[in-house]
Amino acid sequence: MAYNYSNINDYDVLVIGGGIAGIEAALNLAYQGYKVILVEKDLSIGGKMIHLSKVFPTLDCAACITTPKVSETARHPNIKIYTYSEIKDIEKLGERYFTATLVQKPRYVTDACTGCQLCEEKCPVVVEDEYQWGLVGRKAAYIPFSIANPRIAAIDIENCTFCGLCEKVCAAGAIDFTQEEKRSTIVVKSIIIATGFNLFQSERLSYYGAGKFKNLLTSMQMERQLVPTRPYNNVLRPKDGKVPDRIAYVLCVGSRDKSLGNPICSQVCCMYSIKQAQLLMGALPMADVTIYYIDIRAFGKGFDEFYKQGVGMGVNFVKGKIANISEKENGDLILRYEDIDSGVLKEATHDLVVLSVGILTNPDFEKLFKTTPLLKDDYGYVRQVSELLSPSKTSIDGVFVAGTASGPMDIPDSILSAGAASTEASVYMKGGAS
């Protein structure tokens, strides 16, 4: 059967998800001469990584690594990016092609936006800022975050009061409330799934009081407190703005826990907690940092050395899972645990506690396909049908998986996995089997 869709569309590969894995895969393919369409559901590409402070074990700042890759992707002639867009109804067309529906959601701001933030300044609405994980507020007309790409404002229509101030002040005339959802059909030869992961919702754990106790942060919130554009300008307790001096990390929150339905290890929490602990020791030289762990999984290149470095810097490591947390009147938190080394039940008071939340699958990929579903594994991740020989192969020929969509992994592993997916896609498009 001969299909000729070049007149409809001009892309070879569809990459779903604009996180670090999607970006890397797109870049790899673009440099090999393939035309890539990259679709991201959020307002900016860069995924979760762009929001991190520094990354282990080299401690380079995440922005310094992500932003160049992000801008490289954005201006690569072979890559077309659609942000705030989603893919639906993928179907296989014959042997070699896929069709899919691209849904572009309206952001009510056109490309004419210069990112001047005047609209943001004038907007009277304040809602919780999801990019700062609720630590501060943001406006209803807003630039998602300072290093967002594209740096174009968006209007949060659910929270908009239609006061029209933004439209009035925008010199570029970029505000357009008439925008509507756009749908188009695309045809590609191969697809890379890089939909990433979801973080474990710590509110599920009533015995930790997450969501109830203000001085209980998730690791992502702490990550934001440590970035240069940190919401509080210093590392502070959300409850009363105090500088913390006894900080605790609770590991395996939502991971390695059958009672929560997630028996597997999230692979990154030990390391990012050790990293944050080291950064905190730098930011708050007087603070004590304690990490409560079950097992420290410092397995990658340079990881164990990094762990030892943490020990050397004075981070306190305590073996024992935190069973529950209670709050004192002044906002301090009491952690109850068994100190495994001595076999004794203990209670410790900390003035700031970070829950090192684990990684769960992002089930979005299940909704992508119209007729034949993409198979998943026992833990809800995209199933790798040939884990050893072709780690990025999925149950559908021509569809490949990159990054954390196939299971928990750290950034270097995600990047390698994206490399593998791009090579497999390229082999597939050349018609060979790899």
């Binding site: 080299t58 401690l59 380079d60 730098g282």
Partner: protein, 129 residues
């Protein structure tokens, strides 16, 4: 060491692929060394001209340090010898000009030798005071 004494200034010729990463690593790991150490990079430690070294002394540098590629050099196995020759030649020139030869030093700094680099810098500064 007296009060308000000037800290000796050191010019380091470092190589892009071998010793630069080590010096960067020292910074990354916050291993401190005196701030009067300035790094100028060159492709290979065997490419440092004696002329440049003498120029540095003339302009007021108290010491010059060549972070040599040693056996890690990717261009030639004779790199250590070549760099040694440059130092020997420059020492002769320095003697002629009445500059203390101990003000020029060389040592191999590998691409992860951040500790040795910091130690070298500290001891060199000590020696120059």
């Amino acid at each position: 060491m007296g009060e308000n004494q000037k800290i000796p200034k050191i010019l380091v010729f470092s190589t892009e692929k071998i010793s630069d990463p080590a010096i960067d690593l020292a910074g990354l790991l916050k291993k401190h060394y005196p701030p009067t150490v300035y790094v100028v990079n060159v492709p290979c430690s065997s490419s440092v001209k004696p002329k440049w070294i003498l120029h540095a002394f003339k302009k007021g540098f108290d010491g010059v340090f060549i972070a040599a590629d040693g056996s890690d050099c990717q261009y030639s196995e004779t790199c250590t010898f070549n760099t040694g020759e440059i130092v020997r030649k420059t020492h002769d020139l320095m003697k002629k000009k009445g500059i203390e030869p101990s003000r020029l030093k060389m040592a191999a700094i590998c691409s992860v030798c951040s500790d040795p680099f910091v130690k070298q810098m500290k001891s060199f500064i000590e020696a120059l005071i």
